[in-house]
């Protein structure tokens, strides 16, 4: 059901090796790991540290600093609902409540069937068509309850 691969240190080391020669390779490596495994597990940190010749603390500090990097994989699909000012001005808070109720999760949570993770996002740059959302990498704007319901259905399918 998951779109991600199960964690193996061998696969992780291969991914790290593909990026480790870049300058400032930490973020590219973390993005690449998350792309494959759906998260950056704690076990990845010593591998990155040794490949980049930096301390494990530095890697840990970096992983935990950025909102994007997860410790555990989320649901099969990720729905990001924008809650920044422009979307607040256009009814985004009401949509947040609606989405939470419909999916039965809090913001940041994953549905029991592991299909959808609901996350807040602070600006998708679609403020001309607020409120906005992103399902994986597909963008949606000018949302109202009706359009959000369609989107939730799509996310759960």
């Amino acid at each position: 059901m998951s779109r991600h691969e199960p964690w193996t240190p061998e696969r992780a080391s291969k991914i790290i090796a593909q990026h480790q020669d870049k300058k400032g390779a930490t973020l590219p490596i973390l993005h690449a790991l998350q792309e494959v495994f759906g998260c950056v597990p704690l076990d990845a940190e010593p591998l990155i540290a040794s490949a980049l010749n930096i301390s494990r603390a530095e890697v840990h500090g970096c992983v935990t600093f950025y909102h994007d990097f997860k410790r555990e994989p989320g649901g099969r699909r990720t729905l990001k609902l924008c809650l920044a000012e422009s979307c607040q001005a256009s009814g985004g808070r009401a949509l947040e409540k609606h989405a939470c109720e419909k999916l039965g999760v809090e913001m940041g949570g994953t549905t029991a069937d592991r299909r959808v993770t609901l996350e807040p996002v602070y600006c998708l740059g679609l403020c001309h068509s607020s409120p906005a959302a992103m399902l994986d990498t597909d963008v949606y704007g000018a949302l109202d309850t009706e359009r959000l319901d369609e989107l939730l259905k799509e996310a759960q399918s």
Binding site: K23, G24, A25, T26, L27, P28, L30, H31, L52, E58, G61, C62, F65, Y66, H67, D68, F69, A84, E85, S86, C87, Q88, A89, S90, V121, Y122, C123, L124, G125, L126, C127, H128, S129, S130, A132, M134, T137, D138, V139, Y140, G141, A142
Partner: protein, 518 residues
């Protein structure tokens, strides 16, 4: 053959442009029509998206907003001949909202195919680079100084002075960094350039590289922009193939190459020094200045770090001369500003115009008031760190100095409109909360101040010892403003205090109390 244009900008995709393009293609095939569908960037008139443009003898005739299910009907009623229809806006270039703008940076946006370097060149692309190569490094810097261009990221620092500082450092590895971490709510101009005219940015960065002797550049792009990422990667590859990036640009002997790097959801990385740390692979913590990035920047080397819009303005400045650009604008704010109309607004979009237009004209006339139809109560200008303005301040002209004088900032040029249902105390609380979540943690006023600010707002809203807590809030804002290391902690007081000053009733305070406090 008829040419039809449909945008692939995220702002068009988010309201269904992909389905419209697909249906057009299918209908054309089924009816055996001889059409070519070209995917462009956005014109910036987002309330009309999905917008279909059809090439006619008069120019491109626009139809929008179009639903995919209505495409067949539109073809039946003569869309391909540019015939009238209820969704027809006439020739797009003559449409008043578009025509009345001064499009310099966005001249090609929505018109060309952003993935085609030939199309870019056919519309004047790489003329600036050609002139820059002829002029040489010293004269490029002079031209940018003459233009009066100021950093479009928000701080408004003169771009030419930044460039001169880097140019004057001894020859060594230098870098060009483009700040594409456009995190401010209400802004999307950078995204529009990157998705709609990416070669303009690439050309601007290449000119910057030649000007200061930098041979490599990075675009630091926020991860929330997957479509821009895709377009930039394609455009960089195209530029490389065509000899506009690499060891010998246009046969000039100059070398410059570049890549795109993705951020990871940290708002503070839009601050230039934290962006540099992030690019180096570290936590995105703010650096103390000095040293300036121009002296000790990326990987410790001299670095130009500019916003997307600043760099994208450069090709035109080189092609037409610094004086041409300088002749637009007012006072010390020269050239044009792409203003972004957002939030609860009828005509949401991008409006590029010379500095000097008033806030009221932008919101009421160009923006058409609120989308909800209710009265406008407040507008926030310049993102989450910008001040809230009430209607009484709508005569403020859009100009760096005028906004500073009105206790605000134009920032990256975003305007978010709120109607009369907004609770300004909630907005002030949100500003503190946002700062608390996004603080890099390096300096105490920002890290601790914002957390205390949220608590204070909760007490004020619950009417707990309100009068003295309001005094503490003002005190706290003063500490954050003057004691923070960067604009995140330093500017969070703008939305908080402007909300309190202009809308005291939402805080359970009276105007009189504040006047007495002054």
């Amino acid at each position: 053959m008829t040419r039809i244009y449909v945008s692939r900008d995220s702002g068009a995709l988010c309201v269904g442009a992909e389905a419209v393009a697909k249906t057009l293609r299918e209908e054309a095939k089924a009816r055996g029509l001889d059409v070519e569908i070209i995917r462009t960037g956005a014109r910036g008139m987002y309330w009309l998206e999905p917008l279909i443009e059809v090439e006619t003898d008069q120019g491109r005739v626009g139809y929008g907003p179009v639903k995919a299910s209505k495409v067949g009907d539109l073809i039946n009623s003569g869309m391909l001949e540019g015939k009238p229809h209820e969704t027809c806006i006439g020739v797009v270039d003559e449409f008043p909202w578009f025509k009345n703008q001064t499009r310099l940076t966005f001249a090609n946006c929505g018109i060309i195919d952003p993935r085609s370097i030939e199309d870019y060149r056919a519309h004047g692309g790489y003329e600036g680079l050609k002139k820059a190569i002829e002029a040489g490094p010293k004269d490029i810097v002079e031209e940018v100084l003459t233009s009066g261009l100021r950093g479009r990221g928000g701080a408004g620092f003169p771009t030419g002075i930044k460039w001169r500082t880097v140019a004057e450092t001894p020859p060594q590895q230098k870098y060009i960094v483009c700040n594409a971490d456009e995190g401010d709510s209400g802004t999307f101009a950078d995204r529009m350039v990157m998705e709609g005219d990416p070669f303009e940015l690439i050309e601007g960065m290449t000119i910057a590289g030649i000007a200061v002797g930098a041979t490599y550049g990075y675009i630091y792009l926020r991860s929330e922009y997957p479509h821009a990422f895709e377009t930039l990667k394609i455009a960089i590859e195209e530029a490389r193939k065509a000899g506009f990036l690499g060891d010998n640009i246009m046969g000039s002997g100059y070398a410059y190459d570049m890549e795109v790097r993705l951020g990871a959801g940290a708002y503070v990385c839009g601050e230039e020094t934290s962006l540099l740390d992030s690019l180096e692979g570290k936590r995105g913590e703010v650096r103390a200045k000095p040293p300036l990035p121009a002296h000790v920047g990326l990987f410790g080397q001299p670095t130009i770090i500019n916003n997307v819009l600043s760099l994208a303005a450069v090709p035109l400045i080189m092609a037409k001369g610094g004086e041409f650009y300088r002749d637009f604008g007012m006072g010390k704010s020269r050239g044009t500003m792409p203003i972004q109309l957002a939030g609860n607004i009828k005509h949401g979009g991008l409006y590029e115009t010379a500095f000097g237009i008033t806030l009221g004209e932008l919101v009421d006339e160009i923006g058409g008031g609120t989308y909800s139809g209710r009265p406008v109560r407040a507008v926030q200008v310049g993102g989450p760190l910008g001040a809230y303005f009430p209607r009484e301040k709508f005569d403020t002209p859009f100009d760096y100095e005028a906004f500073t004088a009105a206790d605000g900032l134009i920032g990256h040029g975003g305007i978010v409109v709120f109607d009369d249902t907004v609770d300004m105390a909630q907005q002030a609380r949100f500003a503190m909360e946002f700062c608390a979540v996004e603080s890099c943690g390096k300096c105490t006023p920002c890290r601790i101040g914002s957390a205390r600010g949220v608590e204070l707002m909760d007490k004020i809203m619950a009417d707990e010892d309100r009068a003295s807590n309001l005094t503490i809030l003002e005190d706290l804002c003063d500490t954050m403003k003057w004691g923070s290391l960067c604009a995140l902690g330093g500017f969070t007081p703008y939305p908080v205090l402007s909300a309190l000053t202009h809308f005291p009733e939402d805080f359970g305070a009276t105007k009189k109390r504040l006047e007495a406090a002054e």
